[in-house]
Amino acid sequence: MINLTPQLTTQQLTDPMQPEPFRVKRVMKESYDTFTLEMEPVNSERLFTFAPGQFNMLYIFGVGEIPISISGDPNQPAMLVHTTRIVGAVTKAMSKLKAGDVLGVRGPFGTGWPVSSAKGCDVVLVAGGIGLAPLRPVLYQMLAHRDRYGKVVLLYGCRSPEDILFRKELEKWRARFDLEIFVTVDYGDSDWHGNVGVVTKLIPKAPFDALNAVTMVCGPEVMMRFTAIELQKRGVQGEAIALSMERNMKCAIGLCGHCQFGPTFICKDGPVFTYPQLQSWLAQWEV
C-alpha cells in the first residue's frame, strides 16, 4: 500500500483563508496557452517547502483565486514555481503578470505523490496535457536521488506537438540514460515523427516491471480512468496507482464543499489518491 501523506506538514497559518503576497521573479511562456511563474514571498524569507503533488490557492488582487498545483523543484524551496494554462478570468489575468508584480498565495494544501513509497521500485509517470506540471516535482525529486529508484519512465500525451509542455527540459531529460521518456500526440503535423494516439497506447510497451512499480497519473479524468485500467492490464496493483483529481475549490481546507467527489474532499483528502479510493466513483457520470 503506498503512502500518500506528505512527509512535510502544511505550515498552518493563523488564518488559512488569508493570502500571503508573493512577488513574481520570472515569467516563462511554455506554449501558446501555458506559462510558468517563478515567485518569492514579499515579506519574509520563508522557504516554501512542499511535497510533490501539493497545490496552492493563487489570488490575483481583486480578480479571484484558483487552485494550481506546484510545478517546481521541492529541493529548491526558495523559489515557488507554478505552471498553468489560460482557461478563465484568473489564469488570463495571471498570464499578464510581469516580473515585479505581486499575487497572493495560500498553501501548500493536500496530499502529495507517493514518492517515498516509490523507493526501490520502478516509477511510471503518466501525464496528459497540463497534467505534466504537477508531476514535474516528482521528476526533480527522482533525479536528485536517482539511486533510490529503479527505472523512471514518463509517458506523456498531449493534443499536438505545439502543446508539449517543458519541451526543452523533456529533450534534455530524454538524452539521459537513466530516464525513459515517451511522448505521444493526438494530432501530429508534417514535422512530427513521434507517436500519434492516446497515452494509454504507450502503456503496453513501456519498459517497467509491473509487479514492482509505483505509478502516478495526472490528466483529464477520463484519461486517468482508462490509464488505471490499462496499467492494471499490465499487472500493476490498484494500490500502486496514484491519481491527482481536480474540482472547483473555494477554500482548499475542506469547508466550502465545492470539491466533493463522492465521500472525499479533493482539497484535503487529495488531490492525490490511490486508485481504489476513487475507482467506483470514476466510473459514474457527473460526480
Binding site: D15, R85, G88, K250, C256
Partner: protein, 390 residues
Amino acid sequence: MTLNTSSSTKYVLESTDFQQLIDVLVGIGYRVIGPTLDHNAVIYDDITAVTDLPIGWTDEQDAATYRLSRRSDEAFFGYVIAPQSWKKFLYPSQVRLWQAALSNGSFEILPDPEKPEPMAFIGVRSCELHAIAIQDRVFIEGEYVDPTYHAHRENLFIVAVNCGQAGGTCFCTSVNTGPKVEAGYDLALTEVIDHETHYFVVEVGTERGQHVLEQLPVRTADKREAKLPKTITDQAAHQIKRHLNTDGIKELLYTNSENPRWDEIATRCLTCANCTMVCPTCFCTTVEDVTDLTGRQAERIRKWDSCFTMDFSYIHGGSVRYTSKSRYRQWMTHKLATWIDQFGTLGCVGCGRCITWCPVGIDITAELEAIRQTKAKGETIKEGSDENTG
C-alpha cells in the same frame, strides 16, 4: 461545546415570569435571539420582550406548504419550526473574510476589529440541536477550524424548547434527533398549558445554565410536572406522519447512482436551491473577490452556496454536474450517504424544511423510498418511466 446531559432535578418557571429569562440573559451581555412573527412566518430574530414571541400562533406545514394560523391558546412556542434555521447566526449567509489594500507595489491584509457578540438562542428544537452538533463536526472538530463559526459557537447560550406538537413534514423520529431534547443545551424548557395554568418545566444542562436558573423565580417541579417533558414530547412523536427508512442507507445510495428514479425526480426538481438554503446542516459556501472603484482596496466575501447551481461545480470547460438529475443526486447522496463517511453521521436531522420549502413538494423521505422500491422491482418501474418520457 460538550454535550452535557441534564441533571435530574426539574424546575417550574411561570409564563408570567418568562420576561425575566430574557432580562437575565440580556443582563449577562447576550444578544438574545428567539422566534418572532415577520412576513407571515416565524422568524428567529432579536428579541427583548415576551411580546416579541409568536404568542398564540402556530404553523401548518406540508410539502410545498407553509402558513400561520391562530391557536386556541396563548402558547409562546406553539409553532413547530421556523423556515430559517439557526445557522444564519452561527454561519451567516454573508461574511467578509478579509480586506486588503495595495501598498508599496504589494498588498497587505487589513486588520478586522469586528468581534462577534455572544448570543443566546431561545427556542431551539431538538432536531436543531442535532443540526448544530453536526455543523460543529464540520467547522470545529475537523482538520481545519472555521474562525467565524467557532467564535459564534464558543460563547453561545442555548435555551432549547421541547416540541409540543409535530409538523406535517417532520421526521425526527426516523433519524433519532427528537422530538425530546436530550443534550447540547444550557437550559431546556417544556411549555405546559392546561386549564388555568401556563408554565415551563425547566431542565438544566450545564453550569452556565444553572447560573442563569439561579437568577430566575423558579420552584422545584413536583413529580407530575417532572414527567411532563416526556409525556408532551411522546404526544408530539405520535403525530409524526413521515418516515425515512435508514436501513443500509449508505449502501443503498452508493449502489444506486444509476437508478431511473433520478431521471424522474429531475422532471420535477427546479434546481432552485431552496432545500439547501433552509437545511440546517448544509454548509457549502462560495467566495467573491471584489474591489472598490479605484481598484486599490479589495475584499473577499464568503456567501452561502448551493450544489444545485451550475456554477458550483464549474471548472475550465464547464460544469461537472450539468444535469439537474446529477445535482439532485449529489445533494441527496451527500445528505444521506457520503456525509456518513465524511463526518460519521447522517447530514439529515429530519426537520422537514426541505420538504416544506420545495416549491414543487419533492419529499426526501418519499424519494428515498422510491429509490429503494425501484431497486426492488426494477423491471416494472422501468416500464413506468418509459411511459413518462414517452
